[in-house]
C-alpha cells in the first residue's frame, strides 16, 4: 500500500435552494488507501452523499481536488473518464431504483462486461455465473427479472454488477439501510469477504454507526458540509471528540445488557 488510492482535498459545493445559496460542502478532505474502508458518517443533509456524487462525476465541484489512482478524477473526460469508471464503481441504497425493473439479472451483469470490454461475448454466460456465485447467488438467477427477486438478492446483484469491471474502489451509498436486519448483516459480511479476497477499497456512506462499526477501518464524521472528526473506527466510536460524533454515538440504539436488567 504505497500512497493513497483516493486523495480528496478542499472539496466545496454550493447549491441554490429555494432562491438561497446553500453550502453543501465546505473544504472536505480525506484519503483512502488500497483495500481500506473509510466510512463517511453524518446526519441527513451533512453533505456525505454530495461527496459521492462529485466523485462519481454526477455533479461538478465548485472547488477542490480528487486524485484517484494517480489521475485527476475531476478533470477527466470522454474515454479517460469511462476507463476510470470501470475502476471506481458504485452501489446505491435502492438498486431497484437504479435498474430497469424488467431487465433480467443476466442482462444487468452482461452490460458492464460488454461496455467495458471485459469479456468476449462467448465467455460472458460463464463470467455472469461466476459473478453471481461470488456474491452468493445461484447461476439460475441470471434468467430472472429484477422485479421478481428479493431486496437482498437485488443488492447482491448490484454488488456483482459493480464487481464486473474489477474495480479498485466501490462507493457504497447507504447500501444496507433499506434491507431487513438479517439480510443487512449478510450483505456486510459479503462486502468484508470481497474486500479480503480482492483488496477492493470502499467509501461507505451511512448514517448508521452500527453498520459502520461492522465494516469500516476509519471513520470521517460529517456535519454541515465539513468533516468534523476523522480517525480510526474503534477510537471514534469509543471516544468521539466532536459534538456530532458524540450525538451519533449517543443516538445509536443499543440492546439492553443483561447486567442492566435489574434497573
Amino acid at each position: 500500500m504505497s500512497g493513497a488510492l483516493l486523495e480528496v482535498g478542499g472539496l466545496s459545493k454550493r447549491f441554490m435552494r429555494g432562491g438561497k445559496r446553500f453550502t453543501a460542502l465546505d473544504g472536505v478532505g480525506f484519503s483512502i488507501a488500497a483495500g481500506e474502508t473509510l466510512a463517511l458518517v453524518g446526519p441527513s443533509g451533512s453533505g456525505k452523499s454530495t461527496v459521492a456524487r462529485i466523485l462519481l462525476r454526477l455533479v461538478e465541484a465548485d472547488a477542490g481536488s480528487a486524485r484517484f489512482d494517480g489521475q485527476d478524477l475531476l478533470a477527466l473526460r470522454g474515454s479517460a473518464l469511462r476507463a476510470v469508471r470501470a475502476k471506481l464503481q458504485m452501489v446505491f441504497q435502492d438498486p431497484q431504483a437504479a435498474f430497469n425493473p424488467r431487465a433480467t439479472v443476466g442482462r444487468l451483469l452482461d452490460d458492464p462486461l460488454r461496455i467495458h470490454g471485459i469479456v468476449e461475448r462467448a465467455g460472458r454466460p460463464k463470467a455472469i455465473a461466476a459473478l453471481l456465485e461470488r456474491v452468493g447467488l445461484a447461476a439460475e438467477l441470471a434468467g430472472r427479472a429484477v422485479h421478481e427477486i428479493s431486496g437482498g438478492q437485488r443488492q447482491r446483484v448490484a454488488i456483482a454488477r459493480a464487481l464486473a469491471t474489477r474495480p479498485s474502489l466501490i462507493v457504497l451509498d447507504e447500501p444496507v439501510s433499506a434491507l431487513d436486519v438479517l439480510v443487512r448483516a449478510d450483505i456486510l459480511r459479503l462486502l468484508v469477504d470481497l474486500q479480503r479476497d480482492d483488496g477492493i477499497a470502499y467509501l461507505f456512506i451511512s448514517h448508521d454507526l452500527g453498520a459502520v462499526r461492522a465494516i469500516a477501518h476509519r471513520i470521517a464524521i460529517m456535519d454541515g458540509g465539513k468533516i468534523v472528526e476523522q480517525g480510526e473506527a474503534r477510537a471514534v466510536i469509543e471516544s468521539p471528540v466532536s459534538a456530532t460524533g458524540r450525538a451519533l454515538v449517543a443516538a445509536t440504539p443499543e440492546l439492553p445488557r443483561a447486567t442492566e436488567n435489574a434497573s
Partner: protein, 250 residues
C-alpha cells in the same frame, strides 16, 4: 380490563396468502408495546387492522375489541396513527397548522378558530420552534424530522387512548430518530396514552417498550416483557434477530 383485545386475528389480501394469521394480543391502558418484525412479517398489517385502516379488499377474521372503551375505537379520536413517511401522510398544499386543526375540527366537533388555537398548542407540545409561525408553514418548508413532529401533533390532537407509530422513525437519520423516539415516549407518559410501536429495530424497541411482540410471516412468534425477552428469547428467530443486531458494542 384491557384497552385493546385482539383475538384470532387473520388478514388476507387475495384469496391465498395470509398477511396475518391467528394473532392474539392484549394491550393495557398506558402500556408500551413494540411490534417487531422484518418486511412481510405482518407488523404493519396488524397496526392498520387495529386502526381500521385496512384497504376494503382485505378479508379479516377474528376480533378486535376495546373492553375499556366499551365500543369500537375510532381512528383520529381514540387512536392516533403516525406513518413511516411524513411526506406522504401530510397534504402538501395545506398549512401544517390547518392539518392539525382539521383533525380536531372533524373528531372533536371543534370550530375552526378554536381548532387552530389548539393546533398551535400541539405544535408547541411536539417541540417545533416558533409554533405560531410554523403553523402557517407548508410541509415542504420543514425538515423530515419536523414533518414527523407535525404528523405526531395531528395524531394526538384529539387526545387518543392509543398512539400507533408504524416505523415512524425509520426514514429519519439516527440523531433525529432518537429525538422523535424520546418525544413519543414523553407524550405517551404525560397523557397516559398506550403505545403500539411498530419497528424492525429490536434494540430501539427494547429501550422504549414494556412489552415486545415478535412477528414473522404473519404470525406472532413470541411475546413477553421486554427485558427478559431480550435476555433470554424463547424462539430461534428472535435469537437470530438479536445476533444480527449491529450495535456499537464489540
Amino acid at each position: 380490563m384491557a384497552l385493546l383485545s385482539v383475538r384470532g386475528l387473520g388478514v388476507r389480501y387475495g384469496n391465498d396468502v395470509h398477511a396475518l394469521e391467528g394473532v392474539d394480543l392484549d394491550l393495557d391502558a398506558g402500556e408500551r408495546l413494540a411490534i417487531i418484525g422484518e418486511s412481510g412479517s405482518g407488523k404493519s398489517t396488524l397496526a392498520r387492522a387495529i386502526a381500521g385502516l385496512l384497504p376494503p379488499a382485505a378479508k379479516v377474521e377474528g376480533s378486535i375489541s376495546w373492553p375499556e372503551l366499551g365500543r369500537a375505537a375510532q381512528n383520529g379520536r381514540d387512536i392516533g396513527f403516525v406513518f413511516q413517511d411524513p411526506a406522504s401522510s401530510l397534504d402538501p398544499v395545506m398549512t401544517v397548522g390547518d392539518q392539525v386543526a382539521e383533525v380536531a375540527h372533524v373528531n372533536l366537533d371543534m370550530a375552526w378558530p378554536a381548532a387552530r388555537r389548539l393546533a398551535v398548542e400541539l405544535l408547541d407540545r411536539v417541540k417545533l420552534p416558533e409554533p405560531q409561525a410554523t403553523a402557517k408553514a407548508y410541509p415542504h418548508q420543514l425538515s423530515g424530522g419536523q414533518k414527523q413532529r407535525v404528523a405526531i401533533a395531528a395524531a394526538i390532537v384529539a387526545g387518543p387512548r392509543l398512539l400507533i407509530a408504524d416505523e415512524a422513525t425509520s426514514a429519519l437519520d439516527t440523531i433525529v430518530q432518537a429525538e422523535i423516539v424520546s418525544l413519543i415516549r414523553g407524550l405517551a407518559d404525560e397523557d397516559g396514552m398506550a403505545l403500539l410501536f411498530v419497528s424492525h429495530d429490536i434494540a430501539l424497541a427494547a429501550n422504549l417498550a414494556d412489552t415486545i411482540a415478535v412477528f414473522r410471516h404473519g404470525r406472532l412468534v413470541e411475546t413477553g416483557a421486554a427485558e427478559p425477552l431480550i435476555a433470554a428469547p424463547a424462539s430461534h428467530y428472535t435469537r437470530a434477530l438479536l445476533d444480527a443486531y449491529l450495535g456499537l458494542d464489540a
